[in-house]
């Protein structure tokens, strides 16, 4: 008898198996370098004020990758399409874009390239004084342990603790979204969409039924 025809998801997963995860690093770093080169050459959106544009470019890519990382689990649950092989690369690439974003902030925006002492002092005062920077810095700092443990060795060593620690992304992604929303002037739809998307992706993870049953134990009686 002929085997059952593969489902749509199975066919996609089969195709994805041929894509190496390191491709994400190649594309990510190539993109990062390309945008830096464009900024350096004052091309396109970088023509007039490249520093701010590059800072936002890296920050936005980081946020997009962070949100993409949250898509993996619900996508698997609802469609059986598995991107799990790519999740570590997605998360780490998000972290590298956050680092690039921070580097542009310190070295170029605050002038740390010329005066590191002044720039670092500024990072500190700005982090304390400006809530949107406080929130962004919190997201960055919280990402560091996750990035450091995004390897097989740490996963084996930490066992259950690894999973618990990496749930920090459920805090980090909203922080990043708030950081984006908070620096907008006027009513801007884009940061709101990222926050709404994040909220939906997080809501999909909540066991609503279990929560309801636990909250109303009398119903069973």
């Amino acid at each position: 008898m002929a085997a059952k025809a593969p489902t749509f998801a199975q066919r996609i997963n089969k195709g994805l198996r041929r894509v190496p995860p390191w491709l994400i690093y190649v594309i990510g770093f190539a993109w990062m370098g390309w945008e830096f080169w464009r900024a350096l050459s004052a091309i396109g959106p970088y023509a007039v004020e490249p520093i701010n544009v590059l800072e936002r470019e890296y920050g936005l890519r980081a946020l997009q990758l962070l949100v993409a990382g949250l898509v993996v689990t619900p996508l698997m649950r609802w469609t059986r399409v598995s991107l799990i092989r790519f999740r570590r690369a997605i998360g780490l690439m998000a972290f590298y874009f956050v680092l690039a974003h921070f580097a542009v902030f310190v070295l170029l925006d605050l002038g740390g390239f010329f005066d590191p002492g002044y720039a670092l002092a500024q990072v500190w005062t700005e982090t304390i004084k400006r809530p949107y920077i406080t929130v962004g810095m919190a997201a960055l700092v919280l990402l560091i342990p996750l990035a450091l443990t995004s390897n097989d060795w740490a996963m084996r060593r930490m066992r259950q603790g690894w999973k618990q620690m990496h749930r920090l992304v459920y805090v980090i992604v909203p922080l990043a979204g708030v950081h984006f929303l908070w620096l907008a002037k006027g009513f801007q739809i884009e940061p709101i969409l990222y926050l709404v998307g994040t909220a939906l992706l997080l809501a999909l993870r909540v066991d609503w039924r279990g929560l309801m049953e636990r909250k109303s134990p009398n119903k069973a009686a």
Binding site: A39, L40, A42, P45, Y46, A47, V48, E49, P50, I51, N52, V53, L54, L108, L110, G111, F113, F114, E126, K129, R130, P131, Y132, W182, L183, A184, K185, G186, F187, Q188, I189
Partner: protein, 302 residues
């Protein structure tokens, strides 16, 4: 009448760098007596060394004009759709000669003159712009300001069908701004009709806009369709949206930070990827307006 404002930026600042480099060498060669003969004091020579006007491309492709969107390139991309002909400006309130004025009628026999001003955005970047315009005081005098008038209110055109930012409701449009009457009458305050010797580009607020060089850029309202003389302080869009962040006066002041960022320094547009910030000057360097605010606590009334 108040003294006429004297330009501390010169024509040399707008001519192409290759040309003014030559001229600068010429001035240097003439020595101190030569410079004095040209009416250039030492401070003005210093200003020439440090201040260079931005290119037309920079001035016309990096704008905040939220009617067209919040992106810096949106105004250049979409402002072309704005209809500026015919243009009518409503003058009302406490004036002797209210009515609907065409641009030509409003300007009358006044001839626009060149004013090279520093322009400091509230977002902590700045440019130097060679405007053409007339002093607002001259217009107001012709309109006949009545004794009870204390403020001047301005309003920007709204054309939803041509303005994507208006359709998206980025701000509460129409954009409105206001000045105290003495600010409006100050000889620095300009109604500008052009820059770089050409009619005002649409993304910069065609056909006529306000320029108040000692205040943050958002006070310099674009594409004006209404000028009203009022007794009470008129609403101002950003102030109304967030009074904690944007005061009615919004004078450039390095000592009063925007709650979300420092105003102590600014980045002059055009320095590329490695541009350094420079200190922001009180009143954007236009100290002659300080007397307008004598006795005011500029920390509280920012």
């Amino acid at each position: 009448m108040a003294h006429r404002w004297k330009n501390d930026l010169t024509r040399a600042d707008v001519t192409p760098p290759a040309l003014w480099m030559n001229r600068r060498r010429l001035i240097a060669a003439m020595g101190a007596s030569g410079a004095a003969g040209l009416g250039l004091g030492p401070s003005m020579a210093a200003a020439q060394e440090t201040l260079e006007p931005n290119s037309l491309e920079e001035i016309t492709s990096y704008n905040n004009f939220y009617e067209f969107g919040t992106g810096k390139q949106d105004p250049e991309r979409y402002a072309d759709e704005m209809v500026i002909e015919p243009w009518s400006i409503t003058v009302d309130g406490l004036v002797d000669n209210p009515g609907e004025y065409s641009l030509a009628e409003l300007l009358g026999d006044l001839t626009p003159e060149e004013r090279i001003y520093r322009f400091r955005c509230v977002e902590a970047w700045s440019m130097v712009v060679p405007w053409q315009g007339v002093e607002l005081a001259d217009i107001l005098t012709r309109l006949g300001v009545q004794d009870e008038a204390r403020y001047v209110a301005f309003e920007t055109v709204v054309q939803p069908e041509n303005m994507p930012g208006v359709r998206r409701g980025v701000l509460d449009f129409p954009y409105v701004e206001g000045l105290r009457l003495d600010e409006a009458m100050h000889p620095l305050t300009l109604l500008a009709t052009g820059l770089y010797d050409q009619p005002m580009p649409k993304q910069n607020g065609a056909p006529i806009r306000l320029v108040v060089p000692w205040k943050y850029g958002f006070k310099s309202i674009k594409s004006i369709v209404r000028i009203s003389l009022t007794a009470e302080e008129p609403p101002a869009t950003w102030n109304r949206l967030n009074p904690r962040e944007y005061g009615f006066y919004s004078n450039v002041n390095p000592n009063v930070d925007h709650p979300r960022w420092s105003q102590a320094t600014e980045r002059v547009i055009g320095g590329g990827l490695f541009a350094q910030r420079q200190p922001t000057q009180m009143f954007n360097g236009y100290d002659e307006v300080a007397s307008l605010y004598e006795g005011m606590d500029l920390q509280a009334q920012f």
